[in-house]
Subunit: 233 residues, 2 copies
DNA sequence: ACTTAGATTTCGCCG
DNA sequence: CGGCGAAGTCTAAGT
């Protein structure tokens, strides 16, 4: 990984055009050709400009001094070309570090995990629910959980970490499809289960007859008791 | 901005838990407390771990050698705390650069710009269209443009850079809502305007009676004449 | 190769 | 401050 700190101005042309006036910035250049440009202010996570690999990086140096003068990062984007033009006025620092082999990030607690926990404890989706199958296939995609309720009726459960209107649309499509595909599922119900359900999503879901369930990861893991105050209102 | 290259292992706990095994990585620490952790492989744009400001950064040094041993980044996240634990085995490099004041990115060509241009020239959405309001509020979100057509009928316009099936669904929801909310809008029509309309989106839109309009940013800006060949077919 | 859905999405606007 | 929609979203998985 090469790290260049330099006073530079940057122009990007591609899906849109952007311009960065002259200032001191960090240029991070990865071995795979990925380039990102950083300033001390602004986002901790998002670079001011970037180019994802595969790219072609061209460096142009001053003939007399050998100093880095210009850097162009190019990338094929369909018929056209994405281009990052970096005009360098002064190089403050320029170092390269070998970081060895990749070390992957291990995650725990994402939507997939939530699905596992709810599959093991489907009663959190609704009283008396039993799991029939995870990832129940339809021809427009898999339903997260397919359950039977206490009255033995079919229930499709859509699981999200944060449920927005999009989640409601997705569940709507599944219900439509299931009801059309299989006469036994003509009455299939829908449940939206999420750690957080946005108000508009709740309104739309309930207007379409879906039940909304907010679940707590800690409770699902048995690390915490359910909030009993809910039942004392 | 402080740049530390170090052999380290990282644990994050917060919205989820993650672990990074010992490896050489770059730690980018901004003056505002933003921290991001990078490896040479993987994404050019997304760090392996990060914490957005405001944060509290604690550094722990070896008593004998003064070498950096441990770094903890903490952040309030509602009731709980997000935490980034960085165990440092070896510091390869540790430099700080003053990057001066912020230098903002100037953008051109995004959806907001497209919406401005179409608001000024609604006739590109349809012959004889007049703008009534931008960002017309409904209780499931704002309609990009609300217009009247040549026959004085209401038209809701949804604007996208690239229109997918999602855009059609969004417009469908708005039309549904408008027709239900207001008797005067019982007949409101829909127009999907985008720089690019995906074939599947076009099929779905037209099957639902929406009109599709592909617009050219350069034409909207008056930089280029409309493609007359369209009228010669 | 292309499409779809998730993301510690992040970011910006508007209430 | 929270909610919602866009993003040069990016990325990984499935078809």
């Amino acid at each position: 990984m090469r790290l260049i700190v330099a006073r530079c101005a940057v122009d990007y042309t591609g899906r849109l055009t952007t311009h960065l006036p002259m200032a001191v910035r960090l240029l991070m250049i990865k071995n795979d050709g990925g380039v990102s440009i950083w300033h001390d202010g602004g986002s901790a996570v998002k670079p001011q400009n970037w180019m994802t690999p595969p790219t072609v990086v061209e460096l142009q140096e001053d003939e007399a001094t050998g100093a880095l003068k210009h850097m162009v990062v190019r990338k094929r984007a369909g018929a056209t070309e994405d281009r990052l033009d970096i005009a360098i006025a002064e190089v403050v620092s320029d170092v390269t570090h070998d970081m060895g082999e990749a070390a992957a990030l291990e995650k725990d607690g994402v939507e997939a995990h939530l699905q596992e926990l709810l599959a093991e404890q489907p009663h959190w989706c609704g009283e008396g629910f039993r799991l029939v199958r995870r990832e129940w296939a339809t021809d427009i995609g898999p339903v997260d959980l397919m359950c039977r309720d206490a009255e033995d009726g079919w229930v499709a459960v859509e699981i999200k970490r944060v449920a927005t209107i999009e989640a409601v649309e997705q569940l709507t499509r599944y219900l439509e499809r299931l009801r059309a595909e299989d006469p036994a599922m003509a009455e299939v119900k829908g449940v939206l289960a999420a750690q957080q359900i946005k108000p508009q999503a709740r309104v739309l879901a309930e207007s379409r007859g879906m039940r909304c369930v907010e679940v707590d990861l800690a409770v699902l893991r048995g690390e915490r008791e359910p909030d009993l105050t809910l039942f004392m209102v």
